[in-house]
């Protein structure tokens, strides 16, 4: 099995005023990576106009592009329409499901979706009290369950989980503690740890930290653009007995 090079970025927050500016940084991406993952918050406030800018910036790249949406992409209540615009541009959009890519004979499974919040073990909300709180926590639980099932069903060589919200608090370091419950949930990490994965990619936490890991030892990378401060990061996973 050969190595796998994964490019990733999130929180590009594109609008009409950024048209064409991101695309210029993607030239030659096929020399550096085998697949590009987009970790949500692709738009500023989820309008179709912004969705079209995103579709144009990432269309027809020489490597496959897999995306999830983020909370900003939901703001105008048009997530399905934005996802359709991206799919029309050849971008695969995950919504708590999976896609399998064949990359030079390596079967790569990508599982994911937006994810959601709730907080981290010992400091989190639970399904208790008012219906609004129950709905909040239940939304995350349902997402985590769907990821777990999707991972269980995958029969592939490599597995990556792509999320917008964070599954761990390691990668939130730098954000105010008070907002951690709105930045992610340990339920997402728990689901992935149960089924196993090679890497988890997320965005959302602009002031966070790039590198972290789950309780089960799975590497987590926060690829929010303000964290990376570069057009995308590249993570390379060695093949068996072969470096990448």
């Amino acid at each position: 099995m050969t190595g796998l090079r994964v490019a990733a970025v999130g929180d590009v927050h594109l609008g009409e005023d950024m048209r064409g500016r991101y695309r210029e940084h993607l030239a030659g991406i096929e020399e550096r990576a085998d697949v590009l993952l987009l970790a949500g918050d692709l738009t500023r406030h989820g309008t179709l106009e912004e969705g079209r800018v995103v579709a144009d910036e990432f269309r027809d790249l020489p490597i496959p592009v897999v995306a999830v949406l983020g909370n900003h992409d939901y703001h105008s209540d048009k997530p399905a329409e934005i996802a359709a615009l991206l799919r029309d541009a050849g971008i695969m959009v995950l919504h708590d499901d999976s896609v399998v890519l064949d990359i030079d004979g390596v079967r790569l499974g990508v599982v994911g979706g937006k994810g959601f919040g709730g907080g981290f073990a010992g400091k989190c909300a639970s399904e208790f009290g008012e219906p609004e709180i129950k709905a909040f926590v239940n939304h995350t639980k349902r997402i985590a369950d769907r990821w777990r099932r999707a991972l269980k069903e995958l029969d592939v060589d490599r597995r990556i989980v792509l999320s917008h919200y964070s599954p761990v608090n390691d990668t939130l370091e730098g954000e105010p503690l008070e907002i951690y419950p709105f930045l992610g949930s340990y339920l997402l990490a728990e689901a992935v740890d149960a089924e196993g994965a090679d890497l988890i990619i997320h965005g959302h936490a602009h002031k966070g930290t790039e590198k972290g890991m789950t309780s089960g030892g799975i590497r987590v990378r926060n690829v929010a653009l303000p964290v990376l401060n570069r057009a995308y990061a590249v993570y390379c996973r060695d093949g068996d007995g072969e470096s990448c």
């Binding site: 500016r21 940084h25 002031k207 401060n229």
Partner: protein, 82 residues
Amino acid sequence: MGEAPQYVAARVQQALAEDERTTELGIRVDVRGEQLFLRGQVSCEERRTLIADVAEEAAPGLAIRNELTVSDVRVPEGEEKL
């Protein structure tokens, strides 16, 4: 008694998040006396100006100190081996 500066800052922060022109969640807003400080990173010069405009509308009468920086998207370099 005038409005506490913390409430003014919170109102501006909320305006920056909810105003359709900005929808920026990560801007730090501080009020000190008659001055309102804006700090954080934005993607382009136009947004930097727009954010200051929205902040001024939400807190008229304060002097806006626009300390936002425009983040430069750099060319990717290197890779991390996992």
